[in-house]
């Protein structure tokens, strides 16, 4: 048996292996002979580039973690312009960073196959929104392939390169969390070697092909883009992933796209409707195979549209139905038959289908009632930072400093990374909406109640400037961000703060890794995606070069020093940066670099004040009026000994 790094590059057509959707997408790109792959980590899409980075040194192609999605997109696009095959991957929100380049690149397209693999996140398991990438494909007038399972994810990615070259346009592969992070048996195909020589031709098939302003200019290039659509529409009619099953003379039909088709198949099975409903499985939500959809609409009296995300297919089907069969009854998200938000599953589709065919799903009422009672037993489990996480120290210090010199109602602006858990709140606690006309201060029970605002990568350091410029005087103004986020999205905002004379504290929590998405390296790590050593950048150097005058560096494990530095920054009346630097505890443990201290807990000295509990470390437990250290979770970071006021928690020696 071989390891995963060898398996993913094994040229063994026909072999069946267990691959996660993301790994299958990577394998599809490997089979297609990808030459350049670039990405920025983002759940649920990170494993695409992680897998490609494992394969790259073995097959001789380039794979990189770029500093952000926009740059990753441009790196891949630049490669595709030279005629080689390129892929960029990102999470849903990552696509927002690339929209500028994306919407313009399609005016003229590409030469080598260019695949944009996006992992959407319906239900926002790991995201700040539920945006649907398929609309970007519609908007940008390029095809979108949407797999129903890991096997299709591989096949579609491989084919997407070919389709991209045929149309000379980028192609989306849109997956969702339940594809990205679901594993299945995948049959491998043959690997093509990336042996193309990169070439450059300024006027390749179109004058000024790679310069949107080059004559005849953007409008004519937009016209060229439109002219690709008929060919695109024709191609999708015969793709194996768009399949119409019309048996006998069914009254009802299902049109299901991507993962929706997998749930719909299960729902059909659950209701025993095999061969009794017409089924149109879609792999291209845009452009739709209009002929196939038309045949379905003509053959049945009512149709349920099943798709994950916004009603993109449903809207288009509605448009087509007007011409083809205006009397047809269409059910979906727009009619309330499917939920408008969140993700779908087999049960949801089965309920909608049962309504459509006027059948009842078997239900065990008494058991449902018992379930209702039992649910009160199921305690919530709020997400936490890890035991011994340096961010715990940073948040503790921030809390103490704000209490002292933060004014009446400080504002803490959050950002995206592990530390965003500083704004997740406590699931077991009820938060009531307020209608105060004045600023209101709320107590912080746990670090998870620290962040007042949180939206997107780099958002906090921008918002804090607006609060300052608005003249907010009721308390201190703070922004927090991590190392990878600093490089991804904060640098222009830091320059903006200096240039426009904004003031406030910007706390950068540097743990040396892009930890939340699975410990990818970034410019402060010192290695590249493929593990090669590279120049190590430093947040303070960049901040200094941006003109920041107040910069302090502290170790967040030293709570006293960190609190003092934050206090000083808050009092400084400047745009002040405090860098709290300590390597991620998980990563340090993995690399055997973490030295845990021997912790002593003296139960007699514990007064049950719960101060240590409010520190928020999962290694601290509280039972029968006293605190305690979980011997399995505690790793001896020693921070809680600094928090304990009675000496009940101590470091030995």
């Amino acid at each position: 048996m071989i390891g995963f790094a060898d398996l993913i590059v094994e040229d063994a057509p026909g072999k069946r292996v267990l691959l996660m959707g993301n790994e299958a997408i990577a394998r599809g790109a490997i089979e297609a002979g990808v030459s350049v792959a670039a990405s920025y980590p983002g759940t649920p899409a990170s494993e695409i580039l992680e897998t490609l980075a494992l394969a790259a040194p073995k097959l001789g192609f380039h794979a990189e973690w770029s500093v952000n999605e926009k740059i990753a997109f441009e790196v891949a696009a630049g490669a595709a312009i030279t005629g080689v095959r390129a892929l960029t991957s990102m999470k849903n929100a990552g696509l927002n960073w690339v929209m500028d380049m994306f919407m313009t690149l399609v005016y003229g397209g590409v030469r080598g196959g260019f695949v944009i693999a996006v992992g959407d996140d319906p239900d926002a398991h790991y995201s700040s929104n539920e945006q649907d990438t398929r609309f970007a494909a519609f908007y940008g007038e390029i095809p979108c392939l949407e797999p129903a399972n890991p096997q299709e994810a591989k096949e579609m990615t491989r084919y997407a390169f070919e389709l991209s070259e045929r149309l000379e346009l980028p192609v989306f592969v849109r997956s969702v969390t339940r594809i990205c992070h679901a594993s299945g048996d995948v049959e491998l195909g043959k690997i093509e070697k990336p042996e193309r020589k990169p070439v450059f031709d300024r006027h390749w098939k179109l004058p000024w092909r790679w310069n949107v302003y080059g004559p005849p200019g953007p409008v004519e290039k937009h016209r060229w883009l439109h002219e690709q659509m008929p060919q695109m529409k024709k191609l999708v009619e015969t793709l194996p992933w768009n399949k119409l099953e019309l048996l006998g003379e069914p009254t009802f039909g299902i049109i299901a796209s991507g993962i929706g088709a997998s749930y719909a198949r299960e729902a059909v099975k659950m209701l025993g409707l095999e061969n009794k409903v017409a089924f149109l499985k879609l792999g291209t939500p845009t452009p739709l195979p209009e002929q196939l959809v038309g045949r379905m609409l003509k053959s049945v009296k009512s149709v349920l549209v099943v798709e994950e995300g916004e009603p993109l297919v449903e809207l288009q089907v509605r448009g087509l139905a007007k011409d083809v069969n205006p009397d047809i009854k269409l059910l979906g998200k727009l009619t309330g038959s499917m939920p408008p938000v969140g993700e779908i599953n087999t049960d949801i589709v089965a309920h909608a289908l049962a309504k459509l065919v006027k059948r009842k799903l078997p239900a065990d009422r008494p058991r449902e009632l018992i379930k209702g009672e039992i649910k009160s037993l199921v305690a919530p489990r709020s997400s936490t930072l890890c035991a011994g996480c340096p961010h715990l120290g940073s948040y503790w210090a921030l809390k103490l400093a704000l209490r002292k010199v933060g004014g009446k109602v400080p504002i803490v602006n959050g950002d995206i990374g592990c530390y965003e858990q500083g704004g997740y709140g406590i699931a077991g606690k009820e938060y009531k909406p307020s209608s105060s006309s004045e600023s209101v201060r709320y107590p912080i029970d746990a670090p998870y109640e620290t962040l007042d605002t949180n939206y997107i990568m780099g958002g906090g350091v921008g918002l804090m400037q607006g609060q300052f410029q608005a003249g907010y005087k009721d308390g201190a103004i703070v922004g927090v961000a991590g190392d990878s986020t600093f490089f991804h999205a904060c640098i222009p905002a830091v320059i903006n703060a200096v240039y426009n004379k904004a003031k406030g504290l910007f706390l950068v929590m540097d743990n040396a890794w892009t930890a939340m998405t699975g410990h990818q390296p970034n410019p402060v790590t010192g290695i590249t995606a493929t593990g090669e050593e590279t120049k190590l950048l430093c947040v303070e150097d960049v901040a200094k070069a941006c003109g920041v005058e107040f910069i302090r560096t502290v170790d967040p494990f030293d709570l006293k020093a960190t609190t003092a530095a934050i206090e000083e920054a808050l009092k400084s009346d400047k745009f002040a940066i405090v860098v709290a630097r300590h390597v991620c505890t998980l990563q340090a443990q993995r690399q055997k670099k973490f030295v845990g201290k021997r912790m002593i807990f003296d139960r007699d000295k514990c007064t049950g004040c719960k101060l240590c509990v409010s520190f928020g470390c999962p290694g601290i437990v509280f039972k029968e009026g006293k605190a305690g250290l979980d011997p399995i979770l505690c790793n001896g970071c020693g921070m809680c000994a600094e928090v304990c006021p009675t000496g009940a928690i101590r470091v030995e020696g």
Binding site: V17, L18, R178, G184, L377, R381, S383, T384, V621
Partner: protein, 201 residues
Amino acid sequence: MRMAELNLIIAGVGGQGSIRASHIVGIAAIREGLRARVGETFGSAMRGGAVASHVRIGKGVFAPLIAKDGAEIVLALEPLEGLRNAVEFLAKGGLLLTNTRAWMPVDVNIGRAEYPSLEAIKGAVEKLGGEVVAIDATSLAQQAGNVRTMNVVMLGALAGSGKLPISVETLKEVVKENVPPKTIEANLRAFELGFKTIRKS
């Protein structure tokens, strides 16, 4: 017992190894010529959040997630997570096979929620028509020489329950291939301890 389709949930807390355990079962199923799907549910955190993997083995399996009341087995690396998943997914007559060692949620620590006792969990699942078998897998893992082999203790217990359509040998072989080389011995001991403990009970 060999069935046409097996729906299994492996639940736990982030960091306990439930995803690794589910992949081991999935790989072993494929090696025995079966079709497999593994769907994972977890929060954004590396550690400490509720994690559940839906493992589905069989020919007619399409969706990565198990339908409500559709799991024949919930294998829980942590009791509260076992209950959380059993309430929603365990089929009538299904088995909750759980570790006894609790991982306290922060909500409980700060006094915002109560952790249900093992008796309460057993009572609840039995009321739903399920069977509960609990073993102290964490202690068994320590006994095997590495507390992080707890997930493999539970896999051993799962194999010992006789409810997997996969041979014990294949499962052990896949365990060997999917744990860090230095921990193979400890993991195999862990597997045996879980296997034997369940056989005794």
